[in-house]
């Protein structure tokens, strides 16, 4: 690698400025119709997921789940379970061979009992884990466990849990109170802002719990090959699992074989919790004890073991002038059971607007319900508060909410003029992302013709017509790092990308192939990404959602180094040994005199002077990959060979929260609904999603996240809710018959629009999109229903019963 190449790579670490070295000739990047790398195997049923893995002699593992919201095991008799034919091993909470606490892995290093004796929510794994010959036997054995439970007092309502005399919901972890975090932040003087305002609004909204419902249920397979562990995971953090296995069993990292097959989607956050590795840990112990592979799987009810981190109450006070300029926002939030309570509740107002006075008070409280984590994203509350503030101000003043958004767009309390100056300083183009998103979105939904004042338009069938609009910025910006490598294969000159990561299905692997193909100069069909195997490199994985901007740079860096090495090899003597060497393929030229395009190395000044990459790397030989001739005749000249061509590189990005990076790209979404005021039913007539992704790498991937996110968002906005029995704390709909997710019939047509301002911090000016729509679009529903019926519904999801209640009909 030349000093210049290295300097360029290092100069773009942390993604703090515009990409200074984009590629001019983009043949596959941004091209429509690039065939997805996993398409055929997934369509034909041949894709293998961890849930599909079956090994000879494999045992099946299941465990006891807490029947109560808060309880402790007084005593437990597992003798009947142990006597059941087919039961091979049982791990108990009091197993003398288990450590008292262990770091199961997660966002942070933890210490907790691997098989707990105390449960803090209904459904929590507790007490005993069983490995048996089949799932049926393991389940039957679990039912045969006799437990004397001590039921402990519990609280479900977050408002009760913060009272001064509230009982302790998790006394072992939080011995002095139920508040996990109390955070105060903001800027300016909100009281002065309210005094200067023409209107002041106050309201409280409540968000109920929704969850992930990943298609492939959490699972894993653990096998010991002598002292060497081997694991198949369904998990978004393969690198963490490898670290944990080494620590759990005191084995060198280098002895661990890790496989990360296709992943049936899990939407993030749960993978950051220690409990996500409970199964892997117990399977490892049981496999060691039994000498057999152990597979653990959750049943569908087990999988309802957590939810989104926005459940709770938020009270907002907003001051604005009559033209829609918002002068002050004060927010007090009460959110429950956040595993990582660091994401705030007014961050998008702080970071994404020119609102001068903001006060944020966030209180994170523990109750006896499932843990809450980022489900696809942690920004839900931040997006909700931004949009309720803008939409309610517009509603109160009779203004078009789109105009209110434009009036308050900005960054860190400054207006868009200030933001434009910063864009220039950072090397970005002068584009107004929000306006561009609005132009496309408004045209697609025909906003100017269809928007009306709230509650003023009924359809021919007497349903009420409503339009809704939401907006915010992109946020592919949390911490992440990526190590990736590319090897040029012999025989055909194809390239293999290495970088173990969980394939969540976003088509990211194809995008990375496009980047490598363009950067090296290969046909895209000659580039493959082997994401499922641990070859010593771990890419940023679909978690923390910094994938494209980190992996994109890592693969680009590796590709640029590899290209340089190919060209250097092309002008250098070949096959040099003690016997001598062979002249270069391109004698008397320098690397910079050559190019690579569509799989051919060529002389720029004479493109007809070329050699295919396949021919250049030569074919594998009988006794090794490099030298052609195994038994050269005496006196015959030995043939030349091509050195191995391989490159690795990396990218790091520190978290950009707390205004480390200004947000430049925007998104805007629109919906048209019909509300039946007799039944409360809300029909989605049309939905338009617009995202500024900076620069499209893979169209299928971007649009897939748009319509896919739209479906998840509508589920969240309309009906997804985990319901708890308020008397017992038992979850009542932890299955897919009763916890509804959207079907193909539930939502009207979705139109997607992409904006490319080039203002992303990733390679080629791109940013990711995976979390955006699912997180932002749910709040279209309250806005559109308000526009339809003229009443705000401040309890989400906006179910028919809540609509009727707002109309005084229920």
């Amino acid at each position: 690698m030349t000093d210049e190449t290295l300097a360029r790579i290092l100069g773009l670490m942390d993604n703090l400025r515009a990409d200074a070295y984009p590629l001019e000739d983009q043949r596959y990047i941004g091209k429509r119709g690039v065939r997805r790398i996993d398409g055929y195997e997934k369509a034909s049923g041949q894709a293998v997921y961890t849930f599909d893995v079956a090994l000879p002699g494999m045992l099946q593992m299941r465990w006891l789940a807490s029947p109560y919201a808060h309880c402790r095991i007084v005593s437990m008799d597992t003798s009947k379970a142990a006597a059941l034919p087919g039961v091979r091993a049982i791990l108990r909470y009091d197993d003398p061979g288990l450590p008292e606490v262990v770091d199961l892995g997660g966002h942070i290093v933890t210490s907790e009992p691997p098989v707990p004796r105390i449960a803090y929510y209904e459904g929590q794994e507790v007490g005993a884990v069983i490995a048996a010959d089949s799932v049926a036997v393991a389940e039957e054995a679990v039912r045969l466990i006799e437990v004397e439970w001590e039921q402990l007092p519990f609280l479900l309502d977050i408002r009760d849990a913060v009272k001064p005399d509230a009982l302790l919901t998790k006394p072992e972890t939080f011995p002095v109170g139920n508040v996990r975090m109390d955070q105060l932040g903001g800027r300016g003087d909100v009281e002065a802002g309210f005094l200067a305002s023409d209107i002041v609004l106050e309201f409280t909204y409540r968000q109920h719990l929704n969850t992930w419902v990943g298609p492939e249920r959490p699972c894993g397979v653990f096998r010991w090959n002598g002292d060497a562990p081997e694991i198949w995971i369904k998990h978004q953090r393969p690198h963490i699992i490898k670290r944990c296995i080494s620590k759990w069993f005191d084995v060198p990292m280098s002895t661990i074989s890790l496989h990360c097959p296709r992943q049936g989607a899990s939407f993030g956050g749960w993978n950051a919790t220690p409990r996500s590795n409970f199964g892997n840990y117990c399977a490892g112990v049981l496999s060691k004890r039994t000498g057999r592979p152990v597979k653990w799987t959750m049943d569908r009810r087990n999988d309802f073991c957590g939810g989104n981190m926005d459940e709770g109450f938020v009270t907002l006070k907003v001051g604005a002038t009559r033209d829609g300029t918002i002068l002050a926002v004060s927010g007090d939030s009460l959110l429950d059971n956040q595993e990582y309570p660091v994401f705030g509740t007014l961050n998008h107002i702080l970071e994404n607007t020119c609102i001068p006075n903001v006060r944020e008070h966030s209180v994170m409280v523990e109750v006896n319900k499932v843990p809450t984590v980022p489900v696809r994203c942690e920004q839900n509350t931040n997006v909700c508060t931004l949009n309720l503030v803008c939409n309610k101000v517009a509603g109160e003043l009779g203004l078009d909410p789109v105009e209110v958004a434009l009036k308050n767009d900005g960054a860190d309390g400054h207006d868009v003029t200030w933001l434009a100056e910063r864009k220039a300083e950072l090397g970005f183009a002068q584009r107004d992302s929000l306006r561009e998103c609005l132009d496309k979105g408004k045209a697609a939904i025909d906003w100017d013709a269809k928007w009306h004042l709230p509650g003023t338009k009924s359809l021919d069938d007497h349903r009420m017509h409503g339009l809704g609009f939401v907006w915010t910025h992109e946020w592919e910006d949390s911490s992440g790092s990526s190590e990736m490598a590319i090897r040029l294969e012999r025989n055909d000159g194809s390239a293999t990308i290495f970088g173990c990561r969980a394939d969540g299905g976003q088509n990211a692997e194809t995008a990375y192939c496009q980047i490598a193909a363009d950067e090296i100069g290969l046909p895209v069909e000659k580039v493959f990404y082997r994401q499922q195997e641990d070859a010593g490199f771990f890419a940023m994985t679909p978690d923390s959602s910094t994938n494209l901007s980190v992996n994109g740079f890592a693969v680009r860096n590796a590709a640029r180094i590899l290209k340089r090495r190919i060209l250097e090899a092309a002008v250098a003597p070949r096959g040099v040994t003690q016997q001598g060497g062979f002249p270069p393929i391109f004698p008397d030229l320098l690397p910079e005199d050559l190019g690579i395009q569509e799989g051919y190395i060529f002389e720029k000044a004479d493109p007809a002077n070329r050699i295919s990459v396949a021919e250049f790397v030569k074919r594998s030989a009988p006794s090794g990959t490099m030298v052609e001739t195994e038994f050269p005749r005496v006196g015959a000249p030995r043939e030349d060979y091509c050195q191995p061509l391989f490159a690795d590189s990396f990218q790091v990005q520190d978290g950009a929260y707390a205004s480390k990076r200004l947000r430049l790209c925007r998104q805007a979404h629109f919906v048209e609904v019909a509300v039946d005021t007799d039944t409360g039913k809300i029909d989605i007539l049309k939905l338009v999603t617009v995202n500024d992704v900076g620069h499209v790498i893979n169209w299928d991937g971007c649009e897939g996240q748009q319509y896919g996110g739209a479906y998840m968002a509508m589920g969240r906005g309309l009906f997804e809710e985990m319901v708890t029995d308020p008397v017992t704390g038992v979850y009542l709909n932890s299955d897919m018959l009763n916890y509804k997710i959207p079907t193909i019939l539930d939502i009207g047509p979705i139109e997607t629009r992409l904006v490319e301002t080039g203002m992303g911090y990733g390679p080629y000016g791109a940013v990711g999109i995976g979390e955006d729509v699912a997180t932002t679009a749910p709040y279209l529903i309250p806005a559109a229903v308000y526009n339809a019926i003229g009443r705000w519904i401040d309890e989400y999801p906006v179910t028919p019963s809540r609509v009727l209640r707002s109309l005084g009909k229920a």
Partner: protein, 184 residues
Amino acid sequence: MAEKVKSHAPIRLAVNGQPHDLLVQPNWTLQHLLHDQLGLLGVKEFCDRGACGACSVILDGSVVLSCMVLAIQCDGRSVETVEGIAAAGHPLIESYVKYSCMQCGFCTPGFVVAAKALLDRNPDPTEREVMEGLAGNLCRCGTYPQHIKAVLEAAEILRGAAPGASGGAAEATGDTRAAREVTR
């Protein structure tokens, strides 16, 4: 393994056109038989409760949820899975790839099966009929809009109506498979 075996019953089941003489336990579902015993991994288990359509197969011409059918009930019957549909070169497979109808892909085989059954009984469906034909299948990644395009195009190919289609599934299949080899 030493699982307590109740009693095995013999059944004869045609799987993707191939006759199989099988011994099945009375508590085995058809999904278990196909996925776990015969290794047809496209018969996926998603909801575990007859709610999602991921384990869909075509049993004697009708789509069924194989997690809700006992294997022992299938004696003398004929079942078609996504593997059989792909092996026969049905144009749905290529149209599903072309329109990127999958994200995580776990539910995709079930959609293909439901779509194939739809086209078997209705070669020229409307967009609404496609949606209704796929309404029993859940996709958490939200790929639904693409399925409609893919199924309608596959229907056109089957009818010989699509540009380049030369009539009949088998012939169309040959073309699309060749294209696959070239482009990926």
